[in-house]
């Protein structure tokens, strides 16, 4: 519709059949003012303005629905080790169980081992609803292993949604197989649509029995990615586009990428910060290419939002990640372990468990709506960020010292909007707090006015206050959105009465290194 007409040069390329794709492209303004009842778009519990068939696909998919990611888990199986392109932010040699980033995996699996793992995890974690194949290479550079795995899983565990992630180079060749395999969701990583920029990110590709380099390589890759996206959209398969934000290389350009993928029917755009450190041994890591700061990332995401749905809850997880998106339980499910663990895959039990999760979700939404009605007559230009320590279920239920990450919400009189997360090293080890880690945590949430926790010790509390971040522990085990809004209302009252002077906070650092403690 307007989305496609307005896309200029891309309008021609946009497919015109497939109502699902149209509706996916049409709804915008995701997560805008909750009080105007537009809180839909695959980011909230309520269906909002999402067409039912799309809502059914995303409501239990933690990657496609921000709200679902508090409740549902996913897993990746590392059956696809080969890749057909080289990226300057990737080094496949590095493998470490303590590190969590794409391309990294501890052991590769055969399709048969993968199915066993899926059943074991489905037994242990009944809210695991999605199986993805995301490497550690490229899912479609290993088509035999990838599709064999999907075939076996679809037979053994029919309620699990299938999902794959690809660089897109081989995508146009596999569209029919993807449709036949009943894969609901496909993620394509598109970092550039201009081959000049692409050439700075991809040194080479391997395509139709040849290695291509430079602009030729980038041009082929871009063409194939966009062609694949169009073909999937035509067939009603939900597509997410991942882009890595690389300062001074593609940061400005990603706004153009956003327009191009939206015009071709992408459902969701996930702009992620470059992870780059010399010890990763990547080209970017070794030549000192930095990643963006928290505010640079947010500014770009904000600029693209309104045009289409933005994913902000991505944790850039491993190709063998298991669990809720904020956690990684892959270490519990090594091949040795899964051979020993029992399988009691039972559809009815899983459904009963997930029904309970749905009830929990509904309660949290009602609580939020009640709180928001209090804001009905109020508007204020003030917006603040707050950090939240949570273990999931939409609750403030993690201790400050145990948090592996903080979720960040932007509070305004429109409501509480999830805008991202900050990974940190756990402050408390063996009962003792580490001062170095505390200063790293403070740098990571430096743009926040407050941090909400279930519990916090006296020492970190006073250091946080010194850094200008208010530690808030009075909403322990209550709903995140409701509690933060209650807090924000009293903050606004204090600003109004002159008790508090509202000040903008600075920027924050995005953590680059490997996780020091095993996740």
């Amino acid at each position: 519709m307007s989305a496609m007409v307005g896309s200029g040069g891309y309008a021609k390329a946009a497919p015109d059949n497939g109502t699902m794709m149209q509706s996916a492209a049409e709804h915008k303004g995701c997560r805008t003012a909750a009080k105007t009842a537009q809180a839909g778009c695959g980011s909230r519990t309520s269906q909002g303005d999402l067409p039912s068939e799309i809502w059914e696909k995303v409501k239990k998919h933690p990657c496609y629905s921000e709200e679902a990611h508090h409740h549902y888990a996913r897993m990746h199986v590392a059956v696809a080790p080969a890749c057909n392109i080289q990226c300057n932010y990737c080094n496949r040699k590095y493998d470490c169980a303590n590190e969590s980033r794409p391309g990294v995996v501890s052991e590769k699996l055969t399709p048969e081992q993968a199915v066993r793992k899926v059943l074991v995890v489905a037994t242990a974690i009944p809210q695991m609803t999605v199986l993805g194949i995301a490497g550690p290479g490229d899912a479609l550079a290993n088509p035999a292993k990838t599709f064999k795995t999907f075939e076996l899983v679809a037979k053994a565990a029919p309620d699990i949604k299938l999902c794959l992630s690809t660089n897109g180079l081989a995508l146009p060749d596999h569209i029919d197989t993807i449709v036949r395999s009943r894969i609901d969701h496909v993620t394509i990583t598109i970092n550039a649509i201009d081959p000049e920029i692409g050439a700075k990110i991809y040194p080479w590709i391997f395509f139709s029995h040849k290695r291509y380099t430079g602009i030729d390589a980038a041009r082929i890759l871009t063409d194939r990615q966009l062609q694949g996206l169009e073909m999937l959209s035509e067939r009603g398969i939900l597509c997410k586009v991942n882009s890595v934000m690389i300062p001074h290389i593609n940061d400005q350009h990603l706004v153009e990428v956003n327009k191009a993928v939206k015009a071709r029917g992408a459902f969701l755009h996930n702009i992620m910060p470059l992870i780059s450190a010399p010890e990763h041994g990547t080209v970017f890591g070794l030549n000192g290419q930095r990643g963006p700061s928290a505010q640079e990332l947010k500014t770009l995401q904000d600029a693209c939002e309104g045009k289409m749905n933005m994913m902000r809850h991505c944790r850039q997880c491993r190709a063998d990640a298991v669990g809720l998106i904020g956690e990684d339980r892959s270490a519990e499910f090594s091949t040795d372990q899964i051979m020993k663990m029992g399988v009691k895959y039972d559809l009815a039990t899983r459904k009963a468990y997930q029904d309970r999760v749905e009830d929990e979700r509904a309660v949290s939404v009602v609580a939020l709506q009640q709180e928001l009605t209090q804001f009905a007559a109020e508007t204020s230009a003030i917006k603040v960020l707050v950090a939240v320590a949570t273990k999931g279920a939409g609750l403030i239920n993690e201790h400050f010292g145990h948090a592996k990450e903080f979720q960040v919400y932007e509070l305004s009189t429109s409501g509480a909007k999830f805008i991202g997360h900050r990974r940190v090293d756990v402050y408390c080890q063996d009962g003792y707090g580490e001062e170095d880690r505390l200063s790293t945590i403070i740098r990571g949430i430096h743009d926040c006015h407050a941090v909400f926790v279930a519990k916090i010790g006296g020492c970190p509390k006073s250091n946080l206050i010194k850094a200008g971040i208010e530690p808030v522990d009075q909403y322990a085990h209550e709903f995140i959105e409701k509690s933060t809004i209650v807090w924000f209302r009293s903050y606004l009252d204090k600003v109004k009465s002159g008790d508090v002077q509202h000040e903008e906070r600075g920027d924050a650092a995005i953590r680059q290194g490997a996780l020091i403690s095993a996740a």
């Binding site: 080790p81 496949r92 029995h209 290695r211």
Partner: protein, 74 residues
């Protein structure tokens, strides 16, 4: 003039295995190996050796110069 894979550099990603027109590549002991008697360097099949072109680590699929024919005559 067959190719060989330098085991210490091989990431065991398997990218080369299905590409070999002579089915000369297989996994052995955690890395991939090329059966020297089967390797034709892809001559007659492709413009460039497929294992070399697809390998993510440069200089890992290399000509095996340890073979007697490459040694200086005694």
């Amino acid at each position: 003039m067959p190719f060989k894979i330098i085991a210490s550099q091989c990431t065991s990603c398997s990218a080369c295995e299905p590409l070999c027109p002579n089915v000369a590549i297989s996994e052995k002991g955690g890395s991939f190996v090329i059966e020297a008697t089967k390797c034709t360097e892809c001559i007659g099949h492709f413009d460039e050796p497929q294992c070399v072109a697809a390998c993510p680590v440069d200089n890992t699929c290399v000509i095996d110069t340890s073979l007697p024919r490459y040694q200086a005559p005694a």
